[in-house]
């Protein structure tokens, strides 16, 4: 068989996560990802870990991601020179999703930006592991007048419908954080940053703390009967089900935020004012519609369609390609996403893709495949 060698031969230069020993004790199968030796799955396997996240709660170690603080007067306004989001209006303790863009409007990375509380203007950035060197160099170079400091902290994600109750019992008040809200809590005398966000489509939290305290936190969370560990495999399945793009696959320097279906993250003021790289292309795409769109794809077969598969219209014209594809544990069927020429990017359109020696029908579908269940305060609570 092929593929097996990949899992067994890890190059020696991989960085270890702070919780490496915990993962190994939990029986994780490790695999290289973005230069880190990461838990791909635990003993339960990707399908069970995905379903557990949808039904209860899972703990993911995402310490490979890059965390940094950009500080200084008008830091948010300055960061707008690299991103299309309205960051100047970001309230303290709130998080916004955006992208770093190149001069032609292509996506260099996608990231979360949180305005920290306090008199001084400080922004907490969380970026993709595979891009952190480039991102940090870009920001430090482009905004030299600001203090820019990468943080050496662990990052855990607690995701699933039970996450709020579990975390609230440990950190009273965490359960009341709004979606994309942020607060610093005290965890055994150390600051623990809690952000109500995630990458699964479920309610959940991302927890940032110094590496030396991460094991205690992981142990406490995993001791709860509703919480099980989940690896990168489940994380990838969950985000694909939730229709969330993955940098390096669904987003790269050739894709702009409009065709990537991320227009919602472009600030209203920014659309008018511009002042970010690639404004011309993005304004044109917003006004005239992009030439291609990121879409959901449902292969009409039991076999998953994988990244790189070409998509054809009925007249055999190549009209797009798959950028992420796999099997949905929740829907028990293959799902995929990719880019398709706008004329074909209509829900229900039938395309085809070669799959080994066959050709399979592929239907354009709405994203997400599995509805998002982010936290919304109940009407009763809002009225109070």
């Amino acid at each position: 068989m092929t593929e097996l060698d990949v899992a067994t031969a890890a190059p020696p230069a991989l960085s270890k996560l702070p919780l490496d020993a915990v993962h190994r004790r939990l029986g994780a199968r490790m695999a290289p990802f973005a230069g880190y030796d990461m838990p791909l799955q635990y003993e339960q396997g990707i399908v069970a870990e995905t379903l557990h996240t949808r039904r209860r709660a899972s703990l993911f170690d995402v310490s490979h991601m890059g965390q940094a603080i950009l500080a200084g007067a008008r830091a948010a306004r300055a960061l707008e020179s690299l991103t299309p989001a309205d960051l100047a209006s970001l309230s303290p303790e709130r998080t916004r999703y955006t992208q770093l863009l190149n001069e032609s409007g292509g996506i260099l990375d996608d990231l979360l930006v949180t305005r920290l509380p306090g008199v001084e203007e400080r922004l907490l950035l969380v970026v993709n592991a595979s891009r952190k060197q480039e991102d940090f160099a870009l920001i430090a170079t482009a905004l030299p007048q600001f203090d820019f400091n990468p943080l050496d902290r662990a990052l855990l994600a607690l995701q699933g419908p039970r996450a709020s109750a579990v975390l609230g019992a440990l950190l009273p008040g965490a359960e009341d954080l709004p979606f994309r809200g942020w607060r610093a809590f005290d965890f055994g005398g150390a600051p623990l940053f809690v952000s109500r966000s995630g990458y699964t489509g479920e309610d959940g939290f991302e927890l940032s703390l110094r590496a030396e305290h991460a094991e205690d936190l992981a142990r406490l969370l995993l001791a709860h009967e509703d919480v099980a560990p989940a690896g990168l495999g489940a994380r990838d399945a969950l985000r694909l089900e939730a229709g969330l793009p993955l940098y390096g696959h669904d987003l790269d320097e050739t894709t702009d935020p409009v065709e990537a279906r991320l227009s919602w993250s472009i600030g209203k003021r920014r659309r008018a004012e511009g002042g970010f790289p690639g404004f011309e292309r993005i304004r044109n795409a917003l006004e005239q519609g992009p030439s291609r769109m990121r879409v959901g794809l449902l292969p009409q077969t039991k076999a998953p369609l994988r990244e790189g598969a070409q998509l054809y219209a009925s007249d055999d014209q190549a009209v797009g390609h798959v950028t992420s594809g796999g099997f949905s544990p929740t829907l028990q069927r293959p799902i995929a996403m990719g880019y398709v020429a706008s004329a074909y990017a209509k829900v229900g359109a039938t395309l085809s893709a070669p799959l080994r020696d066959k050709r399979v029908d592929v239907t354009v579908a709405t994203l997400p495949f599995v509805p998002h269940r982010y936290f919304k305060p109940s009407a009763e609570k809002e009225a109070r």
């Binding site: 068989m1 092929t2 593929e3 097996l4 899992a7 067994t8 199968r29 791909l40 799955q41 396997g45 990707i46 399908v47 069970a48 495999g233 990838d236 399945a237 039991k302 076999a303 998953p304 994988r306 796999g326 099997f327 544990p329 293959p334 080994r356």
Partner: protein
């Protein structure tokens, strides 16, 4: 079935008369993780030693299965269409893939027996 013979690619064969039952080892299924789809050859297809005879799709990736023997496919496991996870649950039993009428039973002799395969796994 103690008479299993293994390839270095983690396939096994169990020869009875001139018909070999072929599947993947327990190690292989555990490395693949959750299996969600298996593409099997048609009955009657000629197979050659070392050539691809099936594709196993796990949640993460597609993996090719190579035939450790030459011959003709005489049966494919009818249960795997509906329940590919049988290969995870019982790779050496109900999770077999295909049966091949072998053209050269001597090919099996060059494969590893249980003890040799166990030693081989320790070198990985």
């Amino acid at each position: 079935m103690n008479d299993l013979r293994y390839s270095k690619d983690h396939e096994y064969v169990a020869l009875e008369g001139d018909v070999a039952t072929l599947g993947i080892s327990d190690y292989a299924q555990s490395q693949l993780g959750d299996i969600v789809f298996i593409e099997l050859p048609e009955v009657g297809k000629k197979v050659a030693k070392g050539k691809e005879i099936a594709v196993i799709e796990s949640v993460k990736a597609a993996s090719e299965v190579y035939s450790p023997v030459s011959g003709e496919v005489v049966e494919v496991n009818p249960e795997l269409g509906e329940t590919p996870a049988l290969v995870n649950d019982d790779p050496l039993g109900r999770g077999w893939l295909i049966k091949v009428r072998v053209s050269d039973p001597g090919e099996c002799a060059s494969l590893m027996d249980d003890a040799a395969y166990s030693s081989f796994l320790k070198t990985l």
